[in-house]
Amino acid sequence: MAPFLLKRLLHGLGVLWVVATLTFALLRLLPGGPFDRERRLPPEVMANIEAKYHLNEPFFAQYARYIRGVAAGDLGPSYKYTDRTVADIVRDTLPPSVLLGVLALSLALAVALPLGVAAAAWHDRWIDRACTTVATLGISLPNFTLGALLIWIFSLKLGWLQAARWGAPGSAILPAITLGAMPCAQLTYLLRSSLLETLGEDFIRTARAKGVRESLVLFKHALRNSLIPVLTLLGPLFAILVAGSFVVEYVFAIPGMGRFFITAVTDRDYPLVMGVTLVYTAILVCANLTVDVLYSAVDPRVRTG
């Protein structure tokens, strides 16, 4: 178990390093700098700015400085918000994003598990058809469309919930539904097909032949074995949640990291773009590590193989 985890941890650190290097190189190679304005700044002012942010140093010196800083938890200064560092901004904007992501994922799991099981248990009946149709609709509905629809119904027409007022009671409900819908639909699909496959296997027939109750066959024999592919999907699901959070935070005006990322891109605030990219990558690496641990706990073949 320990060597397996160590290997995965090293792999995760490797991914972080690759992403840090790629983003650094990509952003340094960009034409046009963050301080280009319509009217050119006097050369001596430009020189001062470049000296302050070490932009006049050679490429590899800047790179080494950046990586050393990241290793020590320093993500550099923000070009746009001159009184705050990137680490400050991340500290302020991460909590709303994490809260939103956790709520959305819990919601998705809570809805997808019963739906997936019901669809497989009543395969090819109306429940199955209804579940798969709803799941297809969910996969096809863009986040921003669903968000706008929910705001229109529940905020503008019914007046039940306020939109765009993060922190007010109930303000997390609509964003969590919007963000959770897509993962929920995918989980339902996956669980259904995974369960159907397991239900066709020999040991299920054996269990039924022994006279085990159908509910026991479904929940004890089949479901446990069908959850492994679902665990595998959790890693990619985190990536989907992160991508979705850009849009959902934009639509619902949530002061989270995704919204800051989008504005940082339009502002050409490169250290902020790099910092947020790295934080996202770190979150995903941690999520995948957790999935690996769960996976090897559930399925002993993973540890040895």
Partner: protein, 280 residues
Amino acid sequence: MAKPMRPRWRSPAFLVSLAFILFVMTVGFLAPAISPYAPGGLEESRMLESPGAAHWFGTDELGRDLFTRILYGARVSLTVGIGTALVALVVGTLYGLLSGYAGGAVDNLLMRIVDIFYGLPDLLIFVLLSLFLGRNIAGVLIALGFISWVRFARVARGQVLQAKELVYVEGARSIGASHLRVLLRHILPNIFAPLLVTLTFSIPAAILAESTLSFIGLGINDPYSNWGTSWGTLAQDGWRAMRSYPHIIFFPAMAIFFTILSFNFLGSGLRDILDPKTRR
């Protein structure tokens, strides 16, 4: 238990979706001929009209006919969707073929790279790349292709791993066919079906990504939009006016939704037709 099955291509969802996609393609292609107004035609006297006989989908805050703009927008969505999927198909398939066929250390290394791409959020990669490639249709197409090629690489590799153990590959090799010939003439045609299904599912994914990016203002940014404005940009225009004029966001949002939905139904229909093993 087993009732007589009708041929799978006759499933209503599959046929309706196919018809809808062909319809959208046609109106996008013929937009200049069939649209009732000019795409950039501003008319101050007709600002923010509700849907009616003169303007089926109403007009926006500059008096532009929304029906016309949606017809033209079909070109952008479909070009980006299909173009991206084709780019990804070619790049990803070649990569996956190579990786799976080579095996060993090469395969290991190539798949590590795929894993990194696969694990990162697609919009994150896209936004970083689009800083570099610019926000025109070609740049968006390449950046989106960069996101979706990994799927084809994974599918192609998995298929090659199975196919290269089969007897016909050994047979081809033993009569002196080169590796390249075996890959392209013998293996590729045999693994085409799963790639086609992946292609069909990649198109809606690309349309979704493109419209989402346009909605948050990071998509195609082309002020000379006589060729067409993305449905995502139209939805963004409507989003800002949603409180008072919900029709402006309603129609582009529905266009996006039904197009993506049709491609998804088409994909699952194709999978059922091409792979008789999957049960419905």
